[in-house]
Symmetry: C2
Subunit: 188 residues, 2 copies
């Protein structure tokens, strides 16, 4: 008989399996997320893992399930200072191995897996929506004359941090963060 | 007895295996590159695949072995026009599924696999070196007064294209390409 999805035993298994899959992902990469290794790491019978998560991409989804997107969520003023602070915080997060793992795994897995693609789109749309709202409000208040369309702001400002972190594997310094904010418009 | 690495039979096997691994990667993702599937797709005995490529990360390396890096390789003048042309060509490449696969697989696999990390670093360093040389020469000729350090040019100009293509899964238009080139300095 199928265990109900709100059964406490199922929820405990799910938490253990998510933790095990995440640990394997961070330490060894997505290829390490197999039913055998997740079951062993979580201390759960392999049959249980197969029953609820028959495919390995579902295990990868559990590994990525708790990734938050806290950036640009509460606009502050002056907007320029707030953008510099948020972008700096994001740059410091992208200095971390675990954050690089999550970002590149998401971008890669989304090319084939529908569930991951929905998650990728969710992150991208959220970032674009938050930046668009903040920049349009700042322009309405006369804080900035925008050079770029607000919907391009994420690519223009976050793109360089993401490339530096995941392709060049370096860090983005304060001067570059300030320059990126200044590329978005003329701040008064 | 071990087949010598310059033996024509070995080279034919290697080519078939590289082609099979690449086809599986593009269609199904890095997780599809297993000894069994590569052997079947290449029409080669599984034992042969295991003998020469005992680990799956070596098969992934074969799948990525022939990826070229043709961008920014032959500077033209005026430098601003050349940069716009090259960046536009790169943006059009990043519109393609296969190029997104290669870029995101490299960034992801490099976090755990030494061979992939060397390849990632090779791409990143080559791009930085080419842009640095072209921008410094343009500045010496009085074509531009650079705002950014030339070593940051790849992150500033290519980063937004890479983010747009692999996180937002959209395209970078001509106006954005022109703006990115203008962010690098004041062109005369």
């Amino acid at each position: 008989m199928e265990t109900p999805r709100d059964d406490p035993r199922f929820l405990r298994s799910r938490e253990a399996i998510g933790g095990a899959a995440r640990a394997l992902l961070l330490a060894h990469g997505p290829g390490a997320i197999t039913h055998a290794r997740v079951a062993e790491h979580a201390g759960i019978a392999r049959a249980t893992v197969y029953r609820h998560w028959p495919r390995t991409d579902q295990l990868l989804a559990e590994a990525m399930a708790t990734v938050p997107m806290p950036f640009f969520d509460a606009p502050g003023t002056p907007t320029r200072d707030w953008l510099v602070r948020e972008l700096t915080a994001l740059a410091r997060q992208l200095d971390l191995h675990d954050v690089r793992v999550v970002a590149t795994t998401l971008a890669n897995a989304a090319l084939w897996e529908e569930h991951m693609d929905a998650r990728r789109a969710g992150f991208a749309d959220l970032l674009t929506a938050r930046l668009t709202e903040a920049l349009e409000a700042a322009q309405a208040r006369g804080e900035v004359e925008l050079h770029a369309a607000p919907r391009d702001a994420a690519a223009l400002a976050v793109g360089p941090l993401y490339y530096r972190a995941t392709i060049e594997r370096g860090t983005t310094d304060d001067a570059t963060v300030a320059a990126l904010v200044d590329h978005l418009g003329r701040w008064s």
